[in-house]
Symmetry: D2
Subunit: 341 residues, 4 copies
Amino acid sequence: MTLTVGVIGAGRIGKIHVDNLRGISQVKVKSVSDVVIDDLESWAKEKGVEVLTTNYEEILQDPEINAVFICSPTTTHANLIKEAAACGKHIFCEKPVSFSVEETEEALEAVEKAGVKLQVGFNRRFDPNFRKIRELVQAGEIGTPHILRITSRDPQPPGIDYIKTSGGLFMDMAIHDFDMARYVMDSDVVEVFANGAVLVDPAIGEAGDIDTAIITLKFANGALGVIDNSRQAAYGYDQRLEVFGDKGAAQADNNRANTVEVSTAQHVSKEKPLYFFLERYTQAYIDEVKEFVASILENKDVICNGLDGLQAERIAKAARQSLEIGAPVTLQPTGKSTAIY
Amino acid sequence: MTLTVGVIGAGRIGKIHVDNLRGISQVKVKSVSDVVIDDLESWAKEKGVEVLTTNYEEILQDPEINAVFICSPTTTHANLIKEAAACGKHIFCEKPVSFSVEETEEALEAVEKAGVKLQVGFNRRFDPNFRKIRELVQAGEIGTPHILRITSRDPQPPGIDYIKTSGGLFMDMAIHDFDMARYVMDSDVVEVFANGAVLVDPAIGEAGDIDTAIITLKFANGALGVIDNSRQAAYGYDQRLEVFGDKGAAQADNNRANTVEVSTAQHVSKEKPLYFFLERYTQAYIDEVKEFVASILENKDVICNGLDGLQAERIAKAARQSLEIGAPVTLQPTGKSTAIY
Amino acid sequence: MTLTVGVIGAGRIGKIHVDNLRGISQVKVKSVSDVVIDDLESWAKEKGVEVLTTNYEEILQDPEINAVFICSPTTTHANLIKEAAACGKHIFCEKPVSFSVEETEEALEAVEKAGVKLQVGFNRRFDPNFRKIRELVQAGEIGTPHILRITSRDPQPPGIDYIKTSGGLFMDMAIHDFDMARYVMDSDVVEVFANGAVLVDPAIGEAGDIDTAIITLKFANGALGVIDNSRQAAYGYDQRLEVFGDKGAAQADNNRANTVEVSTAQHVSKEKPLYFFLERYTQAYIDEVKEFVASILENKDVICNGLDGLQAERIAKAARQSLEIGAPVTLQPTGKSTAIY
Amino acid sequence: MTLTVGVIGAGRIGKIHVDNLRGISQVKVKSVSDVVIDDLESWAKEKGVEVLTTNYEEILQDPEINAVFICSPTTTHANLIKEAAACGKHIFCEKPVSFSVEETEEALEAVEKAGVKLQVGFNRRFDPNFRKIRELVQAGEIGTPHILRITSRDPQPPGIDYIKTSGGLFMDMAIHDFDMARYVMDSDVVEVFANGAVLVDPAIGEAGDIDTAIITLKFANGALGVIDNSRQAAYGYDQRLEVFGDKGAAQADNNRANTVEVSTAQHVSKEKPLYFFLERYTQAYIDEVKEFVASILENKDVICNGLDGLQAERIAKAARQSLEIGAPVTLQPTGKSTAIY
């Protein structure tokens, strides 16, 4: 069986998905839409894309297409989900689903009503290090989880223009960590307290955002957690995670380009962490798409569904509120542990 | 020149100090006092202690004695400091100075008035790993500090009887981490938020304490910090620390009894961390005493003075208050960076 | 420009090359030959192979084909190289070129006469760890090399039938290490002494081979080297390398499937090394083919040429001879350092 | 019970033994002899040494003295052992026992005849890393040993004057590794092949020695081994060891002054290995003396006896011979596995 796919939005991440989809033998990437397509023609030709259009409706109305990838700006996601669902397409949507919990909820209702699959692009769930941690927790190897620690630091901040429309550090960057927290702990977050600071670049503060944060979490299962974020780590992308439980702890270190250690009169050194998400999560981007395709072809649950997307957004909102009021903010648990694996 | 020392309180830590003092050629341990001394006689003889008494006044009134080590229960510390200071003795006092900020302040006033030296027993300042971190920070190797992370977990909780009189996790255990935070960041803590839970043993909760905590800190210099604590780590004493700054990060890992790595069909494994503080901080206990002696003989500032002791207590109090009210608590900075090195 | 390729021999390694060639946009895999092709039909169809034949001549005579991959048994390599060269095809040949130095020399003469490119399949030259070591040596980061250490152990021995036709441990397994030695040291081997033993399986000894070896090397530049081999490492594929020079040392550790470390009451453990060459050298297999294609399309020297293949065989022969006579064996250096990068 | 000790030779190592003996409560260091003692008077006084003499006979004839430490130059060891044994003293002798196998054998006969204990100063047997390896091997954790790898490199060569009287790299430096090989493998060496080179300093070659070596070993139990040595590692003292067996491998890494890892834009670095033997083997020097004392007081076998000393010398001799003739040299096994633990 072949899955025919249309991709809405051919920016950096859209193109990555096209490449990764082309590596799956059961998939045909038929159509790509974007608001401007002049620069995309030779690319589309090289990738074997048949239809290149500025009208995404063309994709949604194409009966041959089974699934769409929504890779356009966040503000368009919720409506596109609703439209795509109405057209009976399975949906892969980049994170976050929207900047508004209400919009996201409406989109999820549409998805449920249509009975299509929706996978949200939390690629880190597919990273081998974090998957291993989740497996160990699920297998009881470290007992009941008590403490979660996530370190998540980017190598450099995005441009100020991006910052302004990003939804802020919590919604744009930490949202991955909020999802990861739920994924490895297999429990909902019920309280958030956020400390934030502008230490990297005053311009980020002037744009109304922060660049450094420490966020503490309480989980429905009673465990505690903490996330530390920075927009700028001099040594590269820092993506570490630790779960501590009553039988032990499991911690994931960064990945490096090689295992070489050099000893000289000055020091003993090794490679820095892989530079940024494209290097670190190369395999995760491949696997999230593979597993989305498999979930459709084999009619399985997706590994990261709409409710997961919604919950991460709700935590991001709560973190922002906590920062603003200087006090912890409580969230209602969903009562559903949605992560599957 | 010889420094003649008296030790008040010959429990586990008092005995360790006696051993370490005996390894310093300029020191003579003349006297030891405790409330019950019957069991101590052969020990005292073996250690060359001349005077073994149940009356600590005998030590304070002995004109030959230059310095006293206060190793008795915390509730006696403040008064002993005041008395010893009045007698013109230099003072090494185990942490915490007291359970009451007011009592500690009174004790410090007595010390200042008497012009004697007071060193508080925050032994971890003398640990080679943490000293190295402080040196790196001071030397600007990692730039301006932005984030501090401390993991501090004991291998097993003390008995419930001890818990009840310990002052609680913040005052008894995390106080070391509060001092460490000020030491490596070289900045006062101005805000504390504490999450706590009873996850290890319900009896600890019934005794009015917690056994698991995540505490976030704001520093006077604008940096953020987080400490995670547990009373029970299945794999041993977990004492790690990381400072992240704008030029890089420095992290200290645990110490192990050997460097051996074993690879089998089952796994690749290495030694667990050293079991507890006596194993991990052996050298730190030796060095804190050596440097206290040197500060007297060479008339130098002590590395951990009374103000350091006071500030750690104030943070512990604030953490407890934060836990109780469920909100962050602010502290006034002292305006003095007191750590010297 | 497109490079049209024919593959002679579609066993495990032949199929891997087909997959990796298909990932290169400038390459078309047109033809595949093997002695028995009944089982290959659906595979060939899936891979888009146009011609599937039992007659490799069909490939060599096809004027559209620019390059051939020789993946048939070793005993056929030399003749195939000669024939392919005579037909003007560029050649990628699996290692070893032959079991006979004379045959290999004849094949290389044919290649030189025909002016075609020949790359020998020493895939480890393309491994990121070992490449990094070579770069560091070339850049002078560790000064003049004094000592080379290679550990190269398989997770399990091949079947006895394979052992019997393998050419023996030196020609089949250590030959990779002999090539690696020349590659990272950038110097010819001028003396070999081999210790060998049958410690893994007596049947290997009965088949006339050894399963454990320590081989010492002297290089033309005066440096010393040692390789240790075993056919069976309980913990997986062990591929480590260290170069020690007058300014320092560089060592490459094994690769693991993830970076997770688990600490429990029993031990602190991490993943075993990747299981075997297919897992460890996945990327190296991709890159050796990419760079072979690039060397043709951009008319560059190959990274591992026929002389490299010949020298590795000569060292393997010398090692076997050393084992038999129980004394070191000298080799004439070629006077050419052939590795390029 | 008290052990009264005399020390013959108060150079660097003699003084270290005095310090370590003074830390043992059952030991009294009564006497020290050296050829020149003018500079030693204040040192001896500070250490509580009662008798300081240029006449070692005074020590041997002193009926109060139970044990002597022979720390004088190697050429004097054998005679001193014979004299001390004749006087009924237990003996701790620095390595090597002598430069002559015959002299050593005579000395051992005298020891056996006198029924005194003799411990040879192979301090590395007491290093926690190597002890752990031996324990793992003895416990069968890695199965039957197949391969031993030792890396043993000094941070810098001794002066040329020392080199000239040192007995050469094999007798002076590698002898520790030969003993270690027997200790961890618990098997005698039956064949040695040595490659050597002068790569560090031509003056060492002019003095008739080498500064770089790779030595391969065959053991009586069939296993193979290799030692690599250099007189100069730019990054410090490099002391690593690995035993590979049919169930797995155990490897010991270097020790470092702290566990701190620093990540910057340039690199990720950690401390270099501890500088040299005094830093690396501090604890081993303490423990070898403690266990020698215990072996006398509790009448137990010493951990490193005269036969161990003899065998290490025989291997060193064989290595030298192998280097000179360019071929492997066989040794007769003793048939005794002497290491105890």
